[in-house]
């Protein structure tokens, strides 16, 4: 419950339209790419389907928000994992409610 409230507060602080979806999708791709030894940004770019300069900006923003860290390679922080968990719960809820979420489906299909 407390974790959900924290994430809700954080979500409200981020003002731009659709950015939460992009952050969630990017974190999801980074998590799955973390299984490889090195995260190749061009691969991430293809999967997330955004221009490379914008991808670099998003990664910078995620670092500033403390959702990812850059040690040897990009890695989700504990906060990033919590964000992704909440993001996936909302997507699951939207799916159960009968809404169609195309952007996400495109990513998971790659």
């Amino acid at each position: 419950m407390a974790q959900t409230k924290r994430m809700d507060k954080m979500i409200k602080k981020i003002p731009r339209r659709d950015i939460l979806k992009i952050y969630g999708d990017l974190l999801s791709v980074l998590r799955s790419e973390a299984r490889n030894e090195i995260i190749v940004l061009t691969r991430v770019q293809v999967r997330i389907n955004v221009p490379f300069d914008r991808l670099k900006n998003y990664i910078k923003e995620l670092k500033e928000l403390g959702l990812i860290e850059d040690e040897m390679s990009l890695k989700l922080t504990e906060k990033g994992k919590q964000y992704l968990e909440e993001y996936e719960k909302i997507l699951d809820f939207m799916k159960r409610m009968g809404f169609i979420y195309e952007y996400r489906e495109r990513i998971s299909g790659t």
Binding site: T4, D8, I11, K12, R16, R17, D18, I19, L20, K21, G24, Y87, E88, K89, I90, L91, D92, F93, M94, K95, R96, M97, G98, F99, I100, E102
Partner: protein, 225 residues
């Protein structure tokens, strides 16, 4: 029209439905928080107005006596609640910027229309009571159409991607539609069983929404399906 049968029980039933709706708003706002698409705002707004309509109904059916104008409050807010929900589903699958803008304008216009109608009821009381019974039937019929649209939409969404997780929500909307349909019968022929049936199906619908929200945010089967 025997609106005041079992006033205390009716008041309690409406009060419980109000609480359920406001609990649901907490979950219904999340898709909007995530996507920032104005059209998703119709979902929490719909449940807020639905909750308000039950709250107004609790006041109307309480043993305290209020003016007949108050009967319009639950009727108008409930109808607008279902319109908001139907609009959310209608615009959710339209992803172009133009459609999104149109969705946001529609939601804003609906809010303004509701405010004007409520003002009309209280500013011009002559407009209110004499035609209430007839308008009530038309509004209930319109509610059934809105809820049927959403039920069909969610059934089609489930049919496109069959998943055991998505089968519940259509039932939720079908139950709410049956609830409105039963109330139609109650207003037409004062059938007590239709009245009780409408309350039961209303709670069945709201319980399904709560169940779905609970499974999504606190359940353990998130990864199944």
């Amino acid at each position: 029209m025997s609106a005041n049968i079992y006033p205390m029980e009716r008041m309690i039933v409406e009060f419980v439905a109000t609480i359920l709706c406001f609990v649901l708003v907490r979950f219904m706002i999340k898709p909007y928080n995530l996507t920032r698409k104005g059209s998703y705002l119709g979902l929490p707004l719909g449940f807020i107005f639905l909750g308000l309509s039950y709250a107004f109904a609790a006041i109307v059916y309480s043993p305290l006596s209020f003016g007949p104008e108050l009967l319009w409050l639950p009727l108008l807010t409930r109808t607008f609640a279902f319109v908001f929900i139907a609009m959310t589903y209608f615009f959710s699958s339209r992803n172009s910027r133009k459609s999104q803008l149109f969705g946001e304008i529609t939601i804003s216009l609906l809010t303004i229309a509701l405010a004007i109608l409520l003002l009309l009821v209280f500013v011009a009381p002559d407009f209110s009571y004499p035609s209430y019974t007839h308008v009530n039937v038309y509004f209930r019929f319109f509610n059934v159409i809105c809820l049927s649209y959403v039920a069909v939409y969610t059934i089609r969404s489930h049919a496109r991607n069959p998943d055991p997780k998505t089968i519940w929500i259509p039932f939720g909307f079908v139950f709410l539609a049956i609830s409105q349909y039963s109330l139609l019968f109650w207003y037409i022929d004062s059938s007590f069983s239709a009245f009780v049936g409408s309350l039961i199906t209303r709670f069945a619908g709201l319980a399904i929404f709560l169940f779905v929200a609970y499974r999504s945010f606190y359940g353990s089967d998130k990864k199944d399906g």
